[in-house]
Amino acid sequence: MLLQRFFPSRDPWKVFAIAALLLTSILIVVPQLWIIIASLREDGGRFTFRHQEAGGRIELAQETVMGYRFTERNGKLVADLGGTGLFAMSRAGPNTLEFEGLSGPLTGTALDANRLRLEVGGRRITMNQTVPMGLFGTTRLPIAVEQLSPTSLRLRHGANAFMEAIDPEPRWTLGNFGAFLNEPAARTALINSLIVTILSTALAGVIGVSLAWMIAKFDIYGREGLVVLVTMAAVSPPFLGAYAWRMLLGSSGILTQALGLDWTIIGLHGVIWVTAWHVFPLVFLLAYDAFTGADAALGEAAESLGASPLRRVFTVDLPLALPGVLTGLYMALIAAFADFGTPKIISLDLKLMPTLVYDEFLSEAGANPSRASAGALLMVLISTGFLGAYRAYLSFGTYATVSARRLSPKKPTALVHGLILAFAAFILLMAFVPHVTVLITSFMEWRSGVVFPVLTLANYRTMFANELMPVLISLSLATVSTAASIVLGIGIAYVLVRKRYPVIGPLLNGIVMMPYVIPGTVIGIGLILALNTPPLVLTGTWAILCLSFFIRNLPYAVKSSEAVLFQIHPALEEAAVSLGATPMRSFMHATLPLMASGLVSGATLAFLHGMTELSSTIVLYRPPWKPMTAVIFENTITLGADFGIAAAMTVLLMVILYGPLWLITQKTRGQMARVGAV
């Protein structure tokens, strides 16, 4: 085998580990390096000026000048780059300019009727002429260049033309970060994002932890069903909540009008509210696990020592469950911070980091991948900060309890039972308001993006007639990316848990966990930057979406595989080896079959992630590879789009999500969320 020649090792796992390290470096680290590079680059310079006939002046649009500096000397406009004069411009008659090189030769070529390339002092400046025209516009003169001497030329152009000049030769700068932090819009976005992240996580924490504690502690009617329902809420399609809440409680929302309110959910408060309901299931599921997993004897000991029930909650139950609760809160925090769909729909003109970075990356004249990259890096940094804080706090005092005897829930009094049921019902109602709203409106008529109370199947007919491709695309993406991440995840987890190679192991672990803190939008931008140039051009393909989903799922796949592996004794495999099975065979025969059942929940989670992925999809998708979430998104936010289709497709997506989920949760409740714990 060729590989063997390069990796002179008789341990096939080592070969795999090195290959996995290479692959993940290319897919995960390299795009991030591209982002870093992009954030440190800037065009060499740009400026726009106009040669006005009236008055015969060259008017420089000061706001457009970047990189260059201009001064007026003897009626000439002198362009200056990095302290040295580069060239001078002056009027040489009607519609005519003269350019003169100040540090060596200056030559010019007309590229087409409107564009000129100026080469001077090692720089290549492209100038594009725009001539303002009204409805019944004037004819324009094409540009013409006449070289006067090796260092000067004469340019004829259209009357009153604007000349937009770009020097695309990049220069290195830290200015993008400065610009990002100095710009009020960016600063506000940062602050808004932090406010939303913290408040929505806090709200989700209060909701999730209190409900989890209640149903862990008391024997509540329909307990298991409740947990399954919350698990379902955990994998809602993205921005479903945002749009539904806007439809209900916006300025002219259904409920707003029905109740005659003068208010709107649009704004920061709305983002917080919707995000909280979006992320609370994570907190709930992990807290519930933590509460039910704690050793009952510890709580009983506290009560036997005379602690009041409330005191017991705060001194024993909560601290014991703290690692689990914190993990849930941390996951909620990261999810809230990176959520793109909700702010895109609810925040209107308020910017948050994910929308700002997205807008910077995909905007036209402001086209600023550099600034977007700076913002993206900032997001990764903040995200990493959250992770650091979480880890530091946990390592600062954890109580590892192995449950000896699980808490058996108490029978509550009728009153308590009623109150808890009412609370749970309220939470479920809020969690499922979006689902119900979309389900109902998918059967109603939509005109001009407004729902009319007329029942119809038209939305479904239109969808099935025109938009089935996206269903196939989403299913294929989710399936392939899940399979790939699980297969690689199993291998990587095996290497990390069983082989513990020095250097390779920790490095691999670090790289694999990176996507856990990188927001989806940033992963998308990184992939575009890295895969838009030869040798590998994947932008706009199915493959790049699949790669993104794969990368985003890898940490979950590895962590869930690790969790399963920890439960399988290495001796099972050694037994096979001692009986003559090669390492690969022994792994396949002894370990893999035992992992399979444990991985079902991890794989389901990955599949559901793939089906609902939006934040990287939105940057990456190109026709014809349009997943369901992109169709829903397009039909939700673009003008005159058919929201009926978005609603029908969301319902279809929910069917695809909740069918398998329901089956899985019957067997493996709780593992779903635990898998995500780092």
Binding site: T48, R115, F136, I266, D359, E364, A365, L472, P623
Partner: protein, 316 residues
């Protein structure tokens, strides 16, 4: 279905061999709304039935950004909608197409890059639930009155991201000067896309919005609480063009479709079904839209680079 999937696979890998006229694929990038493109696509299905059409819809800026990102390996064949300034400013993304019918148009590109489709006036769409009837502004200057801020204010699609926004700011700057734009920068609520802005006013999240006249006309017909105001102090007016993308993978089809889009039949369909004024001299204006002769039309002058840089500076 699967054939379509397979066709898409072939398309994206770029293995389509010599493009055969009138069959195969055509990919539009458009900033037009679905109900704007719908009728023309319907007609196209009849006239060019063998074409497999894909449409990517996004804000003008996003579309343009994608074209830039993909230059060299474009996924699109035709960019549909925007402003001529935008097309001219990015002329290197497109390739010329010589129309045989150039003289039938009110306006045409000497370089044959863009081809005019519609002439659109940008009105102020006023949500009548938010703004009491007697207080409907009649000029742009009035619409900036602080009293409207409490009602929700006026939404402006970000000039850097929407050609509507750019056209408004550029035309108003040319007509009324930059100090007037400063007032807009301090008053208006700037939203990332024209769709988002229009929807916000329709849903009453803002009181008003700068929006294309055909949209508000359609909304008024659909019974939505929106009124179109043609400001007496100047109505920004744009020419809405289309162009063939440079390096189009289905160039033959792109030429056929472009010629088709220029036909009188298409322009009449746009007028009849989506209320758009044609850029063709031989197509009468749609009923219900005011005669252009009665409006004070204003036009964009400064290019996007200048307008965006100035506007951004004013917002700080």
């Amino acid at each position: 279905m699967f054939r379509k999937f397979a066709a898409a696979a072939v398309l994206s890998v770029g293995l389509t061999g010599a493009a055969q006229a009138q069959s195969g694929n055509i990919v539009f990038y458009t900033s037009h709304a679905a109900d704007t493109t719908g009728p023309v696509l319907e007609l196209m299905k009849q006239r060019l039935p063998n074409l497999n059409v894909t449409l990517v819809r996004a804000g003008t800026g996003e579309v343009l950004q994608r074209l830039k990102a993909e230059s060299g390996n474009p996924a699109a064949d035709i960019m549909w909608g925007g402003s001529i300034q935008l097309f001219e400013g990015n002329a290197d993304l497109f390739q010329p197409f010589v129309s045989t019918d150039k003289d039938s148009f009110l306006v045409s590109d000497p370089a044959n890059i863009w081809h005019a489709s519609n002439i659109i006036s940008i009105v102020i769409g006023v949500n009548t639930k938010k703004v009491p009837l007697g207080e409907t502004p009649t000029t742009t200057a009035q619409a900036l009155d602080p009293k409207y801020t409490a009602m929700g204010g006026i939404a402006l699609p970000d000039p850097a991201k929407s050609s509507t926004g750019y056209s408004v700011i550029s035309a108003l700057a040319a007509a009324q000067g930059w100090p007037f734009i400063e007032k807009i920068a301090k008053t208006a609520r700037v939203l990332p896309s024209s769709g988002g802005a229009a929807n916000a006013a329709r849903d009453g999240e803002t009181a008003m919005v700068w929006v294309n006249e055909d949209i508000t006309a359609k909304w008024e017909r659909d019974g939505i609480a929106i009124k179109s105001v043609y400001p007496a102090d100047g109505v920004p007016t744009v020419v809405d063009p289309q162009a063939i993308v440079k390096g189009s993978k289905n160039l033959e089809n792109a030429r056929i479709v472009m010629a088709f889009l220029n036909t009188k039949e298409v322009h009449e369909t746009m007028r009849d079904k989506v209320n758009r004024r044609s850029a063709r001299k031989d197509v009468t204006p749609p009923p219900g839209l005011p005669d252009l002769g009665n409006l004070k039309l204003i036009f964009a002058a400064e290019p996007a680079s200048v307008v965006n840089a100035r506007f951004e500076a004013l917002r700080k």
